[in-house]
């Protein structure tokens, strides 16, 4: 774990000085940039991606709650539980069949049926939401592929919400502040009338930290890293395991992957520490 953290920090340091890494995965449209893109951006810089290892999640896992809670607390996401019409969410769980809605699952493996699956912004390589924004209030960052939001500029037309095929974007139908249980002073809240969503914790990445949800898991249930680095953990997992993406057929190139292998494969390869640490899981 410690080693992993060190690699990660090194990687984040590399991002900061804009050093290029070897590129092996790059969508054809990745070089398309918006007017405000980073001048030193390079098509083969860092490409952040997330692999959610469904093997490590169980059907009634407090883990999910921990992830959601960590993210929403850190980013001052309002909680409109008693008023669902105003709902705002950055990361949430839906059952596996809903998460992969466009596929039909009738006779799938028992452990996947109804499995709560974390959903968040996919930080697509070819994002339809940024294409439609009339003010460039949302755009894909060239330096690392994060789909960003500028809450100072958003005019609240909600075109990006309409264009997102994953339901990852939320609009502030009213002032969110009263619905924030405890405000985290280090991060801004939003004002009514703007769209918000997950930013891959770019503010944490800038400080060399992993995203809040990854940290909340703590045991590589969610792995975060650079797709352009062949030795990264995300690349390893994608090479060794069966991973799928949501609505891949739309060509949006989501950068959140879901490992759907049988949980029993965890024992084959994973270091013992990982299995030991997966407390509370019923996947063994």
């Amino acid at each position: 774990m410690a080693g992993n953290r060190r690699d990660f920090l090194k990687l984040a340091g590399l991002t900061a000085v804009g050093t290029t890494a070897v590129s092996s995965i790059k969508a054809p449209t990745a070089a398309a940039s918006t007017a405000d893109s980073h001048p030193e951006a390079s098509a083969d810089g860092v490409r952040w991606a997330m692999v959610i290892d469904l093997r490590k999640f169980s059907k009634d896992d407090a883990l999910i709650e921990r992830c959601v809670e960590a993210c929403h607390r850190e980013h001052n996401v309002p909680n409109w539980e008693d008023d669902p019409k105003n709902e705002v969410k950055w990361i949430w769980a839906d059952d596996f069949e809903t998460a992969f809605h466009s596929q039909e699952f009738h006779f799938i493996r028992e452990d996947l049926k109804g499995k709560p699956t974390l959903l968040l912004c996919n930080h697509c390589d070819n994002p339809p939401c940024t294409r439609v924004c009339p003010t460039q209030a949302t755009w894909k960052r060239d330096i690392d592929g994060i789909v960003m939001m500028d809450w100072h500029r958003c005019i609240g037309c909600r075109y990006c919400v309409v264009a997102c095929p994953y339901g990852s974007r939320s609009f502030n139908w009213k002032d969110p502040r009263p619905a924030i249980d405890e405000i985290t002073a280090d991060y801004p809240t939003r004002m009514r009338g703007v769209v918000e969503k997950c930013t891959f914790c770019e503010e944490r990445l800038a400080r060399g930290l992993e995203p809040a949800c990854v940290e909340a898991c703590g045991n590589e249930e969610i792995v975060f890293g650079d797709l352009n680095d062949p030795s990264s953990k995300v690349r390893q997992l994608l090479a060794e395991r069966m991973a799928i993406r949501r609505k891949a057929g739309l060509g949006t190139q989501p950068e959140v992957y879901y490992v759907i292998d049988d949980p029993r494969t965890l024992q084959e390869t994973a270091p013992a520490a990982v299995v030991d640490g997966a407390e509370g899981g019923d996947h063994a």
């Binding site: 007017a35 669902p84 019409k85 105003n86 709902e87 705002v88 839906d94 809903t98 998460a99 809605h101 466009s102 339809p128 294409r131 439609v132 924004c133 009339p134 003010t135 460039q136 209030a137 500029r153 958003c154 005019i155 609240g156 037309c157 909600r158 075109y159 919400v161 309409v162 264009a163 997102c164 095929p165 994953y166 339901g167 939320s170 609009f171 502030n172 139908w173 009213k174 002032d175 004002m191 009514r192 009338g193 703007v194 769209v195 609505k247 739309l250 060509g251 949006t252």
Partner: protein, 387 residues
């Protein structure tokens, strides 16, 4: 010339006052929405666009339809439309202003509206729609103003206005095409992702717009000494008939492709519209009403005897307008969100403030039409005494 809208009899001012009351109520509701947020509408995370954007879409069609009188008159020198063109252009002006207002009231941060111009973004269809609508408004104001003031002075319109009028013809087509592109280019929304959306928008626009124009012309004829002429009305009725037939044909194409291919993400939207989905059938009665109205309209319009009789023609035009308003001003937008990309069905119904704001915007449109038509008729009234 505008001062001509500021004089009138008691009926005129009662009507203006009534419209102002409706507008006032809507303005109050909008202020409340502005202070509280769009939570006062029936919209939610899954249905993010509703009545406002649907009215915008419908009215872009009404605006574009002015071309149906402008084109025959200016391009084919069809003289019978001589008296109608100005009514068409004024209707377009009112419709475009209503469109802009509907977009404005739908914005989460209307205070930042200028960001669209401060950060122009050519890859966004919304940017192009803004350009197209703004341009169309300018064209129509310029054209109607120049031609009306020339008419008042009894002069022929200046030569330089002709190319601008010709330009307004493809421009009219473009506003509704770009509006269709707002929807048709979204992989997330299979219901709208159809190449026939723009043609369908145009067909429905060229049916609903001229139908409205016929009704307006007949109302004006009843209230004043203005007479559009029987030939003009009949020619417009034919245009409505063909456009409505085309529209129904396009809808049938849509239905065939979706239903025969039987791809769930295409079928489900139609199922929601006409049968209801997951127990939610808010729109089904409306959609069937739209179908019935379309049938009634076509029976009346296709049959020459009923088309030529004014009373039945009026019923036919109202049926066309009603049918297409339901189809485009209710069904088209809402069905795109139901079911959501994750397959969820969320109930949407406009709230009272949402309806009041929408009504007020229509009242603003009616007010503009009233004022502008009054100006045109006053100018014409002067003309009458001259010879």
């Amino acid at each position: 010339m505008l001062e001509k809208a500021l004089t009138g009899n008691r009926t005129y001012w009662t009507w203006i006052f009534f419209l102002l009351v409706v507008i006032g109520a809507g303005a109050a509701c909008w202020y409340w929405q502005f202070r509280t947020g769009l939570t006062v509408t029936g919209l939610s995370r899954d249905v993010v666009w509703g009545l406002y954007i649907a009215q915008f879409t419908f009215l872009v069609g009404v605006a574009a339809s002015a071309v149906m009188v402008v084109l025959p008159y200016y391009l084919h020198n069809y003289k019978a439309f001589g008296k109608m063109t100005i009514l068409g252009e004024f209707l377009a002006i009112a419709a475009v202003i209503m469109c802009m207002l509907f977009i404005f009231v739908d914005m989460g941060r209307p205070d930042r509206i200028f960001n669209v111009f401060l950060h122009p973004t050519p890859h966004s269809m919304m940017f192009w729609d803004t350009v197209a609508l703004g341009g169309y408004l300018c064209l129509n104001i310029l054209i109607s103003r120049v031609s009306l003031s020339c008419e008042r002075r009894g002069e022929a319109p200046p030569k330089w206005i002709k190319p601008i009028i010709i330009l307004s013809i493809p421009w009219a087509v473009s506003i509704h095409t770009v509006t269709a592109f707002l929807y048709a280019g979204l992989a997330a929304r299979p219901f709208w992702m159809t190449a026939i959306l723009a043609p369908r928008f145009l067909a429905s626009a060229f049916a609903a717009g001229p139908a409205l124009l016929i009704l307006l012309a007949l109302i004006v004829r009843k209230l004043t000494t203005f007479d559009p002429g029987k030939e003009a009305i009949q020619k417009l009725a034919e245009i409505v008939t063909y456009a409505m037939l085309l529209n129904v044909f396009f809808v049938a194409m849509e239905l065939f492709t979706a239903l025969y291919s039987d791809i769930p993400e295409h079928v489900l939207h139609f199922q929601f519209l006409f049968m209801g989905l997951d127990g939610n059938n808010t729109l089904a009665p409306w959609m069937w009403l739209s179908v019935v109205l379309a049938v009634v309209a076509l029976v009346i319009l296709v049959n020459p005897a009923t088309r030529r009789t004014e009373t039945t023609l009026v019923v036919g035009c109202m049926a066309v307008f009603g049918s297409l308003w339901i189809d485009k001003g209710l069904g088209m937008v809402i069905a795109g969100f139901t079911p959501s990309p994750l397959g969820k069905v969320t109930h949407y119904a406009p709230t009272a403030p949402e309806l009041t704001i929408s009504l007020a915007i229509y009242a603003i449109g009616v007010l503009i039409v009233t004022g502008l038509y009054k100006i045109a008729l006053e100018v014409r009234g002067q003309m009458k005494t001259e010879p």
